[in-house]
């Protein structure tokens, strides 16, 4: 299996190459999950806000 371990060693640069790829994979997985979660959370909250149609934003009425 010399050739496979040679491949992963990357001519002595293996730790740099694989750590760069590993970190990238982890960060992208997390941020993909967070992006989907952002949408799902908004849907949940909108459902809770629920109710029949109201104007998008009602003007604030300040009490006199």
């Amino acid at each position: 299996m010399a050739t496979i371990s040679e491949y992963f060693a990357m001519g002595g640069h293996g730790s740099y190459v694989w750590s760069a790829y590993g970190i990238t994979l982890l960060v992208l997985l997390l941020s993909g999950w967070a992006a989907s979660q952002r949408h799902r959370r908004a849907l949940r909250e909108a459902r809770r806000a629920g109710g029949p149609a109201q104007p998008a934003r009602q003007p604030k009425v300040t009490e006199l």
């Binding site: 640069h13 990238t24 109710g51």
Partner: protein, 249 residues
Amino acid sequence: MSLKSWFHRFGSAPFVYRLCAALSPWFAGLAGILIVIGLVGGLGLAPEDYLQGDSFRIMYIHFPAAAIGMGGYVAMAFAAAVGFIWHLKIGHAAAAAIAPLGAVFMTLALITGAIWGRPTWGTYWEWGDARLMSSLLLVFLYLGYMALRAAYEERDKGDRVAAILAVVGVVNVPIIHYSVNWWNTLHQGSTVTRMDPTITGDMLWPLLFTLFGLGLLFAWMLMNRLRGEIVERERHTRWLQEYLTGLPQ
């Protein structure tokens, strides 16, 4: 289609929401395919660099991350400007959706660049290096945009103030690009983004795959975030409530 009706359609939240819904699975699938091909090419088939050995393979994520981080900033500033000038809420929503993703990609560029720098330059990081500093500034511009938006209770106000920062910050993007020509930096000069690329074809094609693959992945995440922004802003509108009742619980 006239410019006005085009504007009207893409300014319409329900239209953009449904467009993202329809496109996003295609983007995700194509992104996966392109990235896998690019990685097989970049980590396997491409020959090692005559000078840097195998460490150059970090380029296949470093370059796309930086290019997308910079391109994302221009897109964010453009969207924020459209929102500011024409009072188009969807522009601000798009800019808000881009900011965290751009910050993530640019941070990845910095991290992978530091890891690549260690065997190549003998150091992870060099304070004062023009390429490194201008890239770090871009991350702070993204974070500043997010922080400024969040600082206002009224969403419209935050959108407009942060849009000004986004647009002003755009000058940093060409500075990053030309920093390797204008100053002495550790960073190598351009080999891809120039009129006469000096990178060999064996090394270049996998880079194009990871570039477009990661670009589509960015777009996929962006569409999810934009849908979240739209839902949040439109939660009391009739179209959204009707859409919600049609969804399985």
